[in-house]
Symmetry: C2
Subunit: 309 residues, 2 copies
């Protein structure tokens, strides 16, 4: 056990397929980062503490007992300890009130943050774990719509200092599975890129309002007919598919009143999907508001401070 | 070469992943059927005649030179001889006029039927190969909408003795790829069934007009939230997914003016998908018109007789 009064903070993102941990300095800046490919589901029941303790041993040796803050899938049914979902609308204080801190054997403390649920979703409440922490990191003081792209992309509306509502779109699932496992894409070559014209053509295809293009299930077939017509190269097929499916997400979001042209939208995340989604925000005529990175770390600290105060 | 005046007819369905051939009697009934798993794409360029000749050798030995009629993918770019697409609206006579007959070395003749294209589709003309023959087999004299379920399901409107227009929906692609390759279905167990309540619940989910259910990309996520809420069993997940996606096809079709409640719809095909789609026709309040099987064989004969007359 360390007898120092200051406890170093570690923000832990332990997900389904890997983990990353950030050791913070006293001013909240990231001092060091560790990543690994050991997902929570690969850890046997009851072994999470042991595994985590081992992974963070050198930081503990150097800094003393750690104050670990974790949100996301570690608090899910398949994780370590199942944490509740706080209902929307929710402030950072509401999330903090549902956090739970436990003492760990080696002198660390672990604070698990709750998830968030939107009970206005139909027919079942929508849920997020981890994205609510990113939203707090982004800041809840502005009234704005925030898109958090991922395997299951979240759209969230911030209003009056709260996360007011959110919805999930499984866009990346549809894209990835169709891109790599369908007959439709059998002629496709190479991987998808969002930086070229083919992606933009897909977004335009999603935006087409001619009334003759049909719905998503029909537009998807136009990737094949475009190729048959000699108007789409094999190496552009997956890129156009990607643009179409992400564009379709924005079309559905617009129809569900998440935005109108000219409205401000921020895209929050830490990977290449942020750039992809930012392109589509602008294609749909919304006003892109820039957001920084590392929102999960900022948000975890902010909620933790609420909880500690 | 046979010197008999009557040539036995063989209707050949040689597709991407297999072939089936039906030897007909003089009254057009099916006398014998052969199937095999040698798809057209497995046959090297220029070898199609040799392979076909071998497959049909015993029938030729018994009946003399055969009159082989073939539609579908054998006439595609990846097939034997690329056949043109006849534009909609098209009658059986229009299809017959574009058929092409070639003499084969062993005394057979091969009549390849054309495909069909709908140039009103946007942004690229829609296409079918084979389904137009099934439509002729079903009969073009009724004014009705016909659904031909498959990997790429076709909706066709018959009007005034012609195939008036059609559109493709890649429903089965989205279902199959998401059902078997997504994180969304990771908790799913067992295969999908369309005969139980779980499938119907999926169709109802597609039909939900509450305004709070979102579009397809959001409704797909409700399969996971339903499971998290303890309201969906793991062995029902794929069935509900199937109902949702096929139901969504009908929803898109209704929005694109393919039908309104009470309108007659026939489902044409030769596999279990016919039963699946018939359930959804009735769930959406359309009037199901029953259709027989073997429409491809009836249609091939009808077009061939037009061509010969």
């Amino acid at each position: 056990m360390s007898d120092r009064t200051y406890r170093h903070t570690v923000v832990l993102d332990w997900g389904t397929t890997g983990f990353s941990a950030a050791l913070l300095d006293e001013s909240g800046g990231v001092r060091e980062v560790k990543t690994g490919d050991l997902g929570i589901q690969s850890v046997p029941n009851g072994e999470h503490e042991k595994v985590l303790s081992g992974e963070l041993a050198d930081w503990r040796a150097r800094c003393g007992g750690l104050s670990i803050i974790a949100s996301g899938m570690i608090g899910s049914r398949n994780g370590w300890i199942e944490m509740p979902y706080v209902p929307t609308p929710a402030s950072a204080a509401d999330l903090a009130a549902a956090a739970r801190t436990i003492e760990l054997p080696h002198g660390d403390t672990l604070t698990l943050l709750p998830g968030l649920t939107d009970r206005t979703a139909h027919p079942h409440s929508d849920v997020m774990r981890g994205e609510e922490t990113q939203l707090v990191g982004f800041g809840l003081e502005r009234d704005i719509v925030v898109v958090l792209p991922g395997t299951h992309t979240k759209w969230a509306e911030l209003r009056g200092g709260q996360i007011h509502r959110f919805r999930t779109f499984v866009t990346s699932e549809v894209f990835n599975t169709v891109a790599h496992h369908s007959f439709l894409m059998k002629a496709a070559k190479g991987e998808a890129s969002a930086t070229g014209q083919a992606f933009l053509d897909g977004v335009k295809l999603a935006m087409d309002d001619s009334g003759r293009a049909g719905g998503l299930l029909t537009r998807l077939f136009s990737l094949r007919t475009a190729w048959l017509a000699g108007e789409l190269e094999q190496q552009d097929m997956r890129s156009r598919l990607w643009g179409l499916v992400v564009g379709w997400e924005f079309r559905e979001a617009r129809e569900q009143n998440w935005f109108s042209p000219g409205d401000p939208i921020a895209v929050v995340g830490d990977d290449h999907l942020v750039d992809v989604y930012e392109v589509v925000v602008e294609a749909f005529g919304a006003r892109l508001v820039s957001a920084g990175r590392d929102m999960a770390i900022k948000g975890a600290q902010a909620i933790f401070q609420h909880a500690a105060s």
